[in-house]
């Protein structure tokens, strides 16, 4: 477009915006014109009344002048209106077609707008923090394991002092603590923050104030905790609460809208913080490694760091600078922990959403394919209709309508349908987004902001316009490819399509099936991953298992003896509870290299100094019973063998199948000696692998040791297997725990099934969406295939009638009709399989234990599609066999 014509369109647009004023001005202008003429006549000696009359006559068609002036601006506006009115009439005349098109479009637009709504809310929406685009995540990165690591506190202090690319830097740590207020204990998610954190996040107190950098004894509550725990009573300001037995004063409550999901190192999901305290001051040297003080207040040596870039400072420059500082520290204070680390400086938002970025992109791609399928399907329907209207169109052409005019007419019909479809789609998207946010609140971070906003609206409209242009072209193409003169001559309303049109329709079917195949395979692979993830050993019944966590805190549990006494009392009391069939605890786990008699290291997954690394899990014997894990080899140690009296004299250990497979590689495990740094013993039995934490993580080689032999016993996970519904047992479990010691914090209880489900909630989300897309895609593609065959039957009614009259068998007729169309279907499936095979690795992020080119999935989907599409085409063609030959012959 030249600059000139662009200006012309701009002037036209400006005209449209103030059309009524413009027309009023034009009227005034013409009236002025007339009065000038009248004055002129009067000057020539004509009487005033006559002059006025004459001037009116002379000016003639004022209306025409105005009409033509308007047309100069808008093109013929009348024809626009005419087109629209005509379109509305055509839509009313065939409401079925209109309904199908509108609905298809609404579903496609609705799904696209919804997914884009999620995409925008999660990945594109800026963080609700001041100058959020300058906030970055700073972390040493271990390329070998592709993980970010924590920053040591002293390192952070040096970074902050030396780096010049940053306006500020703040460190934070996150821990779960026992929170005791007025005799009530609860487990809270605590965030420890360094100075500058409040400034950086723009946090404001709703009540009281925020603590300063040196206020080591102050706690600030979130508004949620303030309401839940203290009923929003402002009297709590200044009162003392206990965190892990350490007294702190409540100095303030954060504003209600302050909500920031700070990333963890591995970006896994973590519940929102409920309280904030200042990071304790640690007078440490770089590289020093203090330990948490058991039972005391948490001391964070390892922190996470966020920074705010100076205006104009680039991320790359900041990274280079920080890498230099990091290398200098590594040189001055060498430790293996810093070896081979590279500094990572990434936008904070990117870090926060990194686990869901790829899945969301995949979903957006998938839903775009769905849109293409829907577009092709609508094109079908409109094409079929425009073919049946050929004679009508031929009449209009012969009455003088130009081809351009006809195409415009057809496009305006498409446009009207698109407006209806897009509108309905947006209503659908509105509901869908509400449902998604309610169904998967924790599946995707920042999902709560998913609403129909201007960006989503714009996206929906652009998508609608593009697809309208695409499907609106179809009837126009059909029109250009048909011979209208012969259409006019024919008597019947339907005419057979030319080979060109038939090929075009066929390739639409091919296109639909190609994309549907892709979506089905993607959904199939994801579903198979899901299935493998949730595979469980027999006897493992997470639905029947209640889990919760008790943290031992306070001066009373500072030493080992009372800790053990507490746990034993807990197990005894719960065992007696009606409805409970087994009770156990696990006391947390730790990874460590081990020495195993005859064990091989090269087969184990991770190896340290030639020794395989395995997970030690201190448990009570009841733990495996409560989990329902079957013994594969060997025997359960008797209860007596693991009781507190016998514990010193026995050295029985249990290992899992994975241990036997990877560390011992099929050698007899029973009786073999295992030597770890803290625990040693003899393998008494092998139990089945199971997942009790994270469904999409492979089970590691594990060693189960009696919890009494664990180093620390502070936070224990309680596992209660119930006979009835675990939910009904939960309150009495809570009661029992409170009776033993009301000052100990108990975390929310949930069934193991819920815990496991939550561990893959973002995968569930992706799977549900993909499954939905695949189902809709399949439906649309099959409808398309059915439509093409049915239409072809409709067009060949005469031929079929004659064949039947001449004695053709119904099955022959069906085969005849199907043969040509089925080729397009087969081509679609084949193209889909080949294309998906090429692109499959792109969805690797959604898969677990399944190769992206998994043969079984490809084969199953292909076969299922082949059967479904053949049946569909067949049933469409079966109508052909029902043609009454007499009717056809009479019609000849």
């Amino acid at each position: 477009m030249t600059a000139n014509s662009m200006y012309r369109w701009l002037r036209r647009a400006a005209y449209l915006l103030r059309q009524s004023r413009h027309e009023a001005e034009l009227q005034e202008e013409i009236e002025a014109h007339r009065s000038l003429r009248q004055a002129h006549l009067e000057r020539q000696g004509v009487a005033p009344s006559e002059a006025e009359e004459a001037s009116r006559r002379a000016i003639g068609h004022v209306l025409l002048a105005r009409e033509d002036s308007r047309e100069a601006w808008l093109g013929s506006s009348d024809t626009w209106l005419q087109d629209l009115r005509y379109s509305a009439r055509m839509i009313r005349r065939s409401p079925g077609t209109a309904a199908v098109v509108t609905l298809t479009m609404a579903i496609a637009i609705g799904m696209n707008a919804s997914i884009f709504g999620v995409f925008h809310a999660v990945l594109l929406r800026p963080l609700p923090l001041p100058d959020s685009e300058r906030l970055v995540w700073l972390s040493p990165h271990a390329p070998r394991f592709n993980i970010d690591t924590m920053v040591s506190r002293p390192d952070f202090l040096i970074w902050r002092e030396r780096a010049t690319s940053f306006e500020r830097m703040a460190a934070y740590g996150q821990v779960d603590v026992a929170f005791l207020a007025s005799g009530q204990a609860s487990e809270e998610h605590l965030t420890l923050v360094s100075e500058d954190f409040w400034v950086m996040t723009g946090a404001k107190p709703a009540l009281g104030r925020l603590f300063g950098p040196d206020e080591q004894n102050a706690v600030v509550l979130t508004h949620r905790l303030f309401e839940q725990q203290f009923n929003g009573d402002s009297e709590v300001l200044g009162t003392t609460v206990s965190l892990n037995g350490y007294p702190l004063t409540i100095v303030g409550v954060l504003a209600r809208d302050f909500r920031i999901a700070l990333p963890t190192v591995s970006s896994e999901y973590r519940p929102d913080s409920t309280a904030y305290i200042a990071l304790p001051n640690t007078p440490s040297q770089p590289g020093a490694a203090d330990r948490n003080i058991p039972g005391g207040r948490p001391v964070s040596v390892w922190v996470r760091v966020v920074g705010k870039l100076r205006p104009g400072a680039s991320i790359e420059r900041a990274r280079t600078e920080l890498q230099g500082i990091f290398d200098q520290i590594a040189h001055d204070f060498p430790t293996p922990l810093r070896e081979g680390r590279i500094l990572r400086v990434v936008p904070l938002l990117e870090k926060m959403v990194s686990p869901v970025e790829t899945p969301l992109k995949i979903l957006l791609g998938a839903v775009a394919l769905l849109l293409l399928i829907a577009t092709a399907n609508i094109a079908h329907v409109l094409l079929a209709r425009s073919l049946s209207r050929q004679s009508e169109i031929a009449v209009r052409v012969s009455l003088g309508a130009g081809r351009a005019r006809i195409v415009r007419q057809l496009l305006s019909e498409s446009l009207l349908l698109a407006v209806l479809g897009c509108g309905t789609g947006l209503v659908l998207a509105y509901w869908a987004l509400h449902a998604v946010v309610r169904l998967w609140p924790d599946a995707v971070p920042r999902l709560e902001g998913a609403v129909i906003n201007p960006q989503v609206l714009t996206f929906a409209v652009v998508v609608a316009v593009v697809s309208t242009v695409l499907f609106g072209m179809a009837p126009a193409i059909a029109l250009l490819k048909t011979d209208l003169t012969s259409a006019l001559k024919r008597e019947d309303k339907t005419t057979s399509a030319t080979p060109g049109v038939r090929r075009f329709r066929g390739s639409l079917v091919t296109l639909e099936l190609t994309f549907a195949t892709t979506l089905l395979i993607a959904a199939g692979l994801t579903f198979r991953s899901f299935w493998l993830m949730t595979a469980r050993p027999p006897g493992f019944e997470p639905e029947q298992t209640l889990v919760t966590r008790v943290s031992l805190s306070g001066p009373r549990y500072a030493s080992r003896i009372p800790q053990e006494q507490y746990v034993e009392e807990l197990l005894r009391s719960l065992q007696r509870l009606p409805g409970v069939s087994a009770v156990g605890i696990d006391a947390g786990s730790f990874n460590s290299p081990v020495k195993v008699d005859g064990g091989t290291s090269d087969a184990a997954e991770s190896v340290s100094d030639g020794q395989p690394i395995v997970t030690f899990k201190p448990v009570s014997l009841g733990f495996l019973r409560a989990m329902g894990v079957p013994v594969i080899r060997g025997r359960w140690p008797s209860d007596g063998a693991l009781s507190s009296d016998a514990i010193e004299s026995t050295d029985a250990l249990l290992v899992n199948q994975r241990f036997a497979d990877t560390v011992l590689r099929g050698q007899e495990p029973i009786g073999r000696h295992v030597a770890g740094p803290y625990v040693s013993g003899t393998i008494a039995a092998v139990v089945a692998d199971f997942k009790d934490w994270q469904l999409d993580a492979d089970p590691l080689p594990q060693v189960y040791v009696p919890f009494k032999r664990s180093m620390v016993l502070r936070s224990v996970r309680l596992v209660v297997r119930t006979q009835g519904d675990p939910v009904t047992v939960a309150p009495s479990v809570r009661e029992v725990i409170a009776r033993i010691d009301p000052t100990q914090a108990v975390a929310e209880s949930a069934t193991l099934d819920e815990v496991l489900g939550a561990s893959i909630s973002n995968r569930r989300f992706s799977l549900s969406m993909l499954a939905l897309f695949a189902a809709v895609a399949l439906l649309l593609a099959l409808t398309g295939a059915y439509g093409v065959v049915a239409h072809s039957v409709g067009q060949r009614t005469r031929e079929i009638g004659i064949r039947i009259a001449l004695g053709a068998r119904p099955s022959e007729v069906v085969r005849l009709v199907v043969r040509r169309e089925i080729a397009f279907v087969a081509a679609g499936v084949a193209l889909g399989v080949v294309g998906t095979f090429a692109l499959a690795p792109l969805i690797n992020a959604l898969l677990y234990d399944v190769a992206p080119r998994d043969f079984a999935t490809f084969a199953a989907v292909t076969i299922a599609l082949a059967i479904a599409s053949t049946l569909t085409s067949w049933s469409a063609a079966a109508r052909a066999a029902n043609v009454d030959p007499m009717k056809v012959l009479r019609g000849l």
Binding site: I30, H33, H40, G60, D68
Partner: protein, 112 residues
């Protein structure tokens, strides 16, 4: 037959060219343009309003003229049209084209 007063008998675009030419001598309102065309053509061209105003709109769309409200000689509000520099260029172009055409027609008519 001669040149009639209805613009449809003019060659397409000629009316616009004549209006541009008329405006070359300074801003004018619609009536003044009609009068100017009538007088300078010695009453051969009587432009009706139904032709004039659409033509004026076309000139505005193309950016060849600008319009502004002013006061007419009988003290009424009237819209005055002014030639823009783009309009001046357009006029020169159309004039050259028109003269070429007239010469061509002349040549044909005079050919033996």
């Amino acid at each position: 037959m001669g040149l009639a007063n209805t613009p449809s008998d003019l060659l397409p675009g000629t009316l616009e060219m004549l209006i541009l030419r008329t405006l070359e001598s300074g801003p004018k309102h619609g009536y003044a343009i009609v009068e100017h065309l009538r007088v300078t053509s010695q009453h051969a061209l009587e432009i009706g309003e139904s032709a004039l105003y659409p033509a004026l709109q076309r000139l505005l769309i193309n950016g060849w003229t600008k319009a502004a409200w002013g006061t007419s000689e009988n003290n009424r509000r009237a819209r005055y049209y002014t030639l823009t520099s783009a309009g001046r260029k357009q006029l020169a172009k159309e004039r050259a084209e028109f003269e070429r055409m007239v010469r061509a027609i002349h040549d044909v008519l005079e050919a033996r």
